[in-house]
Symmetry: C2
Subunit: 294 residues, 2 copies
């Protein structure tokens, strides 16, 4: 990771987190619901999705308070999906990022409802954005519904689950990850572009960039599941192979998956070169996705 | 039920249902996700929430295609909440409206994800509304997020669940139902008012109406659990008493609950009289809520 990116993260991640926790603390809801919501939001993670919103804004040299709200919205959606994904009827995970999963602490019923509430809230906070034209808010809300719901992330999770029953081919695997991981990253990147007032052409380039970075992210995850340690990852390593899951290394060999990762990284960088900027965070984030060890 | 209301229902319910099924059929998502979504949407029910949207529009003599979309949105939210509520970790119900519950047919994982998708989709369909100003769409989306999420329905479900562990007092019970049942009915009624272009004063009256009709609805449900038969209700009668649940009859006696129901019905009618109209559907729906036998 470059020093510049480290600095960017050190400044921006705490700002997003404070913004996000304040949004949840501020709602008039039972404490016994807010507590599991905040527990999982605070469980951390790399905050990649919020960072992409802010890196795109920086790429266009636009400062926008609304960026922190869009960043919070996408992190809430990501967090709700993890809470539901960890449930016994889904992946049945007891630990996430080294901490007990939501339902292990609060019980399944509260975990289900905390997830539901974190699915609904982002639409409200986008609707309440100040100093943003109503048309822009509608664009963000429509994009979030499309990328987070049946047409995006939730659809991808269904396909992913079904991919555990049988070995997918490469085309099917790409479709799973385009939706499961890629769609929500596309929200981050397009939301940044919308708030930055990017042109239609620039947005199309960034959607292509999001496609490559989304697949690169997932391929790297698959590789880390083989090469990483449980300690580094904060989750059980080697789980994919043990469960015969359809992954890039399973379909392409480990070397083939690494080549594919490099291909997508190169294409992602090529997209960025079409929108020249003195801001290097998007380019640095791309490298970080490819070279991270957790 | 009056003949006029019966006629209104016979005309409008199939129109809302077709609109809603078309919206789900039209999305680009895996068939194995759309199937459980549509299964529960088709499982029927009284369609009270969509009817309130349309009855309010008729009260103002406004015809609006957008009414069917708002009606579909609220029914999707209601349906997702039933799917998650029926899960083994929540109420653990095998039957709903006389049919096997979603997870009994599709498994818990698919039921959870179908519920999630039905929570996200309504925001997208409201954002995509045609011929409605962006400001109006934002108002509807903000209202839906508030009434469906932690501040409304989901918050109410958490309180309701906790009310099964200990006997609530009347004030706490009102708070549960104001949120659990009332909030989403408030969406129906306010959404109708927003789309009808009601004045601020009219909207305030209708919010008060929604408060009374929401509580009347819940008290009637509690009474039916005692006086109704399993066959009529399509769900197990007597379940509340068997589980020592906090209900109006448990707190006020059956006669006291019936008096309370009548009080709220009277107040609901008083609200309506402040917004005179030749349309009688809202008034008829009020009586229907109070006198229904299922």
């Amino acid at each position: 990771m470059t020093d510049e990116l480290k600095h960017f993260m050190n400044i921006e991640i705490p700002k997003v987190e404070k913004h996000m926790y304040d949004l949840v603390e501020g709602i008039d809801a039972p404490q016994s619901l807010k507590e599991p919501m905040i527990y999982s939001l605070k469980a951390g993670g790399k905050r990649v999705r919020p960072l992409f919103v802010l890196a795109v804004l920086d790429h266009f040299h636009v400062q926008s308070e609304a960026g922190y709200t869009a960043a919070s919205a996408v992190e809430m959606i990501h967090t709700y999906s993890l809470i539901h994904d960890d449930l016994p009827s889904m992946d049945n995970d007891d630990f996430r990022r080294g901490k007990p999963t939501n339902h292990k602490v609060f019980g399944e019923a509260h975990a289900t409802l905390a997830g539901d509430a974190l699915n609904t809230l982002p639409f409200g906070i986008l609707a309440r954005l100040k100093d943003v034209p109503a048309e822009t808010k509608i664009e963000l809300i429509q994009l979030l519904s499309e990328t987070a719901g049946a047409e995006g992330m939730v659809g991808g999770q269904v396909l992913d689950m079904e991919g555990e029953q049988r070995l997918l081919n490469l085309e099917e695997l790409v479709r799973v990850h385009e939706n499961k991981t890629g769609a929500i990253l596309r929200f981050s990147i397009e939301a940044g572009a919308i708030l930055a007032g990017a042109t239609k052409e620039q947005r199309e380039i960034l959607v292509e960039y999001a496609y490559h970075i989304g697949l690169a992210f997932q391929i790297k995850d698959d590789i880390l599941d083989i090469e990483g340690t449980t300690e580094e990852l904060g989750k059980t390593a080697g789980k994919d192979e043990a469960s015969d899951k359809s992954t890039y290394p399973a379909l392409l060999t480990l070397e083939g998956a690494k080549q594919k990762l490099q291909d997508h990284a190169t294409k992602a960088h090529e997209c960025l070169m079409k929108i020249p900027s003195s801001s290097k965070y998007l380019s640095d984030l791309t490298d970080y996705i490819v070279h991270r060890n957790k």
